[in-house]
């Protein structure tokens, strides 16, 4: 036989030998040189199964449980293990549609045949109990427990916040703690105190096969670490007052903030419209969230912290304080009101007319002319080189009073509000192209001012305290295994003359006793306060009230904003007075029941 391609037999032999040599070298690399694979192998046999830590519980100031935990189940599927099954029975068992089941299974199979995919999450314990009984009929499906929030009371949703699955960026920023599918606080206390609340995940080492079937604990569980539950939060919230506030604000848009002046403790923080916090747990969470997010009244918007309103007349005490503090007036400075404040072409109307003897009286009658006058007097004071400098000095006092800055409350995303300085007007009008007349409306709390309800209440706390305020806070202590770790709070001393403050307090008391707020006098309680109306270019004015009670040794400072409700005396003042009465006496006196009734029934929704 002639074989002209004799040499090719060697080529083929060489190729075979070469391949075997390469493979042996590769095996040497995998099995002898690389230590990685041996380590990975251990990881794989001993799968580390995460044990989720229950989040810390949250209590109100009286020890009432307001955020609890409960178990819920997620249903998973491993496509390679699924056998032919009665889809109709399965669908009715777990309560999803046939088409959704098909779609989810298709997606799961497209993801991986061997790794589990999430089929349905947030199944309640009751529902899962029923499902579990029949789940053995459907191989490839299994349930996994996890802890979610439960709310004994349907209130304080904005303040408590909610939890949800971590996002990719949160995983990256979490320092390796979070893994896909973990829960994290997304807003409110849940977000702010995430590190305290989340606890520490534990782990169990189990022998598992590739189908996620556990083959038993490793080394009798001696390598396991227990999950450490999160710390409990003892808050300063008065849940009864909070719920009462939410009730009063029903069918209204606005905020209530109540603070204990001496301690800065937040007693209530109402944002209306409110929503039931349990809407954002469980199976329908996503749907509910979408509903809330698309609501035109923006129920997810935390108004007390973020909404900035022109404070209107409620700002007048601050204007008077600044004027006295900067030495431009004394408590006894008088001014004759002609029913309007007119300079050149500008005229600010006043509901009141006549001689205003002093600061106290000016506050009592909320005389616009008086405050326009003293505001201009302050910033035009000859001690300042120019009005711009005067305005900036004035702004500094406002800053000390907690206006136009964050108070530092222990809740996320607090708003700043806004107090304009000279740079602001320089930008709008040009340097030296504006004067005190241009910006006189600041004197009566209108114009470019913005204050959050929290800042309004905090201002009242500072006045009630007689010259200092303590960072408002919601959490009194973090309970670390029984021992309460108190929260550090800063005491902000406002360098004010106590004499000036007592003048303001007396003025505020007279407002309710005999001024614009006399409709909301509470028998037996010395309520001091100030009504206000915030001009609203988009619709009806906002009704405002700020105040504190009792006059001596005050126990509550409060701010109420009711959007599109007109005069301050019409809604905000009554609601504030009811809150104060409820907090101080735990009841509403029968002479004021009609007022309570009117407030509860009022529907001011657009």
């Amino acid at each position: 036989m002639t074989d002209v391609f004799q040499n090719r037999r060697y080529v083929i032999q060489y190729v075979v030998v070469a391949v075997v040599i390469v493979y042996v070298l590769r095996l040497f690399q995998l099995q002898v040189l690389s230590k990685n694979y041996q380590q990975l192998a251990r990881n794989n046999v001993l799968r580390e199964v995460t044990v989720f830590a229950p989040r810390g519980l949250i209590y109100d100031r009286k020890g009432k449980l307001i955020v609890d935990n409960q178990n819920e189940y997620d249903l998973w599927v491993v496509p390679s293990q699924v056998q032919a099954f009665d889809t109709a029975a399965f669908c009715s068992l777990i309560g999803i549609s046939d088409s959704l089941l098909r779609l989810t299974l298709k997606k799961a199979a497209a993801y991986s045949r061997f790794k589990p995919s999430l089929l349905l999450k947030g199944i309640s314990v009751e529902k899962y109990a029923a499902i579990q009984e029949e789940l053995y009929l459907f191989p490839g499906f299994f349930g996994q427990v996890r802890t979610v929030r439960a709310y004994p009371h349907q209130g304080a949703a904005h303040l408590l916040g909610y939890i949800g699955e971590v996002s990719q960026s949160q995983i990256e920023q979490g320092g390796g703690y979070y893994r896909m599918g973990d829960y994290i606080g997304i807003s409110g206390l849940e977000q702010f105190y995430e590190n305290e609340l989340r606890g520490r995940k534990g782990s169990r080492f189990v022998l598992v096969d590739v189908h996620n079937r556990e083959q038993g604990a490793f080394a009798g569980g001696s390598f396991d670490t227990a999950a450490i539950p999160g710390y409990n939060l003892l808050t300063t919230l008065d849940m009864d007052l909070q719920l009462y506030g939410e009730l009063l604000m029903k069918n209204k848009v606005g905020s209530i903030v109540a603070i204990e002046p001496a301690t800065g403790e937040v007693l209530a923080l109402v944002s209306s419209p409110a929503y039931d916090p349990s809407l954002l747990t469980g199976m329908e969470r996503t749907r509910h969230f979408r509903q809330l997010a698309s609501d035109s009244l923006r129920p997810l918007f935390v108004r007390p912290l973020k909404a900035a309103y022109p404070p209107g007349s409620t700002f007048k005490p601050a204007v008077a304080l600044a004027a006295m503090q900067l030495g431009s007036i004394t408590p006894r400075t008088g001014y004759s009101c002609a029913g309007a404040y007119s300079v050149g072409s500008l005229s600010v109307a006043c509901h009141h007319a006549g001689y205003v003897a002093d600061v106290q009286t000016a506050i009592q009658y909320s005389c616009n002319s008086y405050f326009c006058h003293i505001f201009r007097k302050t910033i035009d004071d000859s001690r300042f080189n120019q009005t711009a400098e005067g305005l900036d000095q004035w702004k500094k006092v406002m800053d000390a009073l907690g206006i136009g800055r964050r108070t530092g409350i222990d809740l996320p995303n607090e708003g700043y509000g806004y107090v304009p300085g000279s740079d602001y007007y320089d930008k709008i009008y040009g340097k030296k192209r504006w004067n005190s007349v241009t910006i006189v409306s600041l004197g009566i709390g209108q114009g470019e001012l913005g204050m959050t309800p929290l800042q309004m209440a905090n201002l009242m706390a500072a006045i009630a305290n007689g010259g200092y305020w303590i960072t408002p806070h919601v959490v009194r202590s973090v309970q670390e295994s029984g021992t309460g770790k108190p929260i550090k709070t800063a005491r902000h001393i406002v360098d004010l003359d106590t004499n000036h403050l007592s003048v303001i307090r007396e003025g505020l008391f007279r407002v309710v006793e005999a001024g614009t707020g006399r409709g909301v006098r509470i028998p037996g309680i010395t309520l001091a306060g100030k009504t206000g109306t915030a001009e609203n270019p988009h619709g009806r004015d906002h009704s405002l009230f700020v105040g504190f009670a009792p006059l001596h040794q005050p126990r509550i400072a409060i701010a109420v904003v009711v959007e599109n409700a007109g005069w301050g005396a019409s809604y905000a003042a009554p609601i504030a007075s009811l809150m104060v009465e409820k907090y101080l006496t735990d009841t509403i006196s029968h002479t004021r029941k009609y007022l309570e009734q009117r407030m509860l029934e009022a529907n001011l929704l657009p």
Binding site: I12, Q31, Y111
Partner: protein, 422 residues
């Protein structure tokens, strides 16, 4: 009938070859036992267990092997085309009566016996190819003959591919090596290798890296053939064409389609899940093999393979069990056994006097080599995941029987090499 029965069957039998094959079979049964037995009690002929069935198949295969040796070797040359024809009919029958097992619709069920005609098509094709190329007037340089040979390989390949078993289809490309051995221009072989490699690699590899590797390999080839102008030119053109092919397929997919369209196409082709699972299999496989270390964990002590960590571990990924339990020395020994087997067959091929026997021997060597190359390469992460078995080791009656038939026809042809002068 007597005509077809070998008169002295014992004569000229290559016992070394048979010894190697039986050794591999025994290793296979043990490996299947180890990969399937989580509970560890061993009953030899337990047909409910995989190892029991594998053992039964081994015995059946050996009986069939004996029959093959008893039959006159003339039968294989005379009926080569007939056997090929029958197998093609069986392959066609799969389209009508096919049963789906583990996602592949390539099974035929005859009473208690299930078989995969795609496995048996391998030796049938080898017979037909040997018959065609062994005939006196066959000229590899003739285009007509080339097309005929291509048709013999292409028919089963296409039928198997249509059954959704791309891995088995690719196996038929291994016969290109045989055609190369007997005179097909090296360019053709290179083209086949390149085309198979590129189509596989574009799916599983970063195109940029692929192009770099192509250039590196191309440069080496071009340097090697730098003295031959024609080859140099052909090589350069081939290199440019392949780079172009990679870029074109990659570019169209990556740049002309929106991401969601890409996803849709991947999902449509079942590629998304397939790719992720393949990735997963290879990772688990490498872990299992790597965890064996130098000495291995010992027989039945492979924690990974015993707890089903590697999917398909008793079939396509059987090498993991050996890698984990017997470590580097065991894996190397197995590779050397296969090397010895293939080299022995190549040696046997060279001593044949009949052209048919010689070509058939090369077919056997090529198919075995191709399976070894792909299967072990995939378990150690050097080859893409293509579901073909490791000869004599992987669990599965059809493949075990078909490889046995493949080899023992050669044993018989070799045994008669002195008696028959054709």
């Amino acid at each position: 009938m007597t005509y077809y029965v070998s008169r002295r069957p014992n004569q000229g039998i290559d016992w070394l070859l048979i010894g190697l094959v039986v050794t591999l079979m025994v290793i296979g049964v043990l490996a299947v036992f180890s990969s399937g037995a989580a509970d560890g009690h061993f009953r030899l002929l337990d047909l409910t267990q995989m190892h029991g069935r594998q053992l039964l198949w081994m015995l059946v295969s050996l009986v069939v092997a004996g029959v093959i040796v008893l039959v006159d070797s003339k039968v294989y040359t005379v009926f080569a085309y007939a056997v090929y024809g029958v197998m093609m009919v069986l392959l066609l029958l799969v389209f009508v009566f096919g049963v789906t097992v583990r996602g592949d619709t390539n099974w035929l069920v005859l009473g208690p016996v299930r078989m995969q005609p795609s496995e048996f098509a391998k030796f049938a094709t080898a017979l037909a190819l040997a018959k065609l190329m062994g005939s006196q007037n066959f000229n590899i340089r003739s285009l007509r003959q080339q097309l005929l040979a291509l048709a013999i390989l292409g028919l089963p390949a296409v039928l198997v591919l249509l059954q959704g078993d791309a891995g088995s289809a690719i196996v038929f490309a291994s016969y290109a090596l045989v055609m190369y051995r007997f005179g097909l221009s090296a360019g053709y072989l290179l083209a086949v290798v390149l085309l198979v490699a590129l189509s596989l690699l574009t799916v599983v590899m970063d195109p940029t890296l692929l192009v770099l590797i192509l250039f590196a390999l191309g440069a080496l080839v071009l340097i090697a053939v730098r003295k031959n102008r024609a080859l140099l030119l052909t090589g350069a053109v081939a290199l440019l064409l392949s780079v172009g092919y990679v870029f074109a397929s990659g570019y169209v997919f990556e740049h002309m389609l929106e991401p969601h369209q890409q996803d849709r196409i991947r999902v449509l082709l079942g590629q998304e899940a397939a790719a992720r699972d393949a990735d997963y299999n290879v990772r688990q496989s490498k872990i299992a093999i790597g965890s064996g270390g130098f000495w291995g964990k010992g027989f039945l002590n492979g924690t990974l393979t015993r707890y089903n960590f590697v999917p398909e571990q008793s079939t396509d990924f059987i090498f993991c069990t050996i890698g984990e339990e017997f470590g580097f020395w065991g894996s190397t020994l197995l590779l050397l056994l296969f090397l010895a087997l293939i080299l022995r067959i190549l040696f046997i091929a060279q001593r044949q006097r009949s052209r048919f026997s010689m070509i058939y021997a090369y077919c056997v060597a090529s198919v075995l080599f191709f399976h070894l190359f792909i299967n072990i390469g995939m378990t150690i992460g050097l080859m893409p995941v293509i579901g073909i078995p490791l000869p004599f080791i992987s669990y599965g009656g059809s493949s075990l029987l078909s490889f046995t038939i493949l080899v023992f026809i050669l044993v018989k042809l070799d045994g008669d090499r002195l008696a028959i002068l054709r």
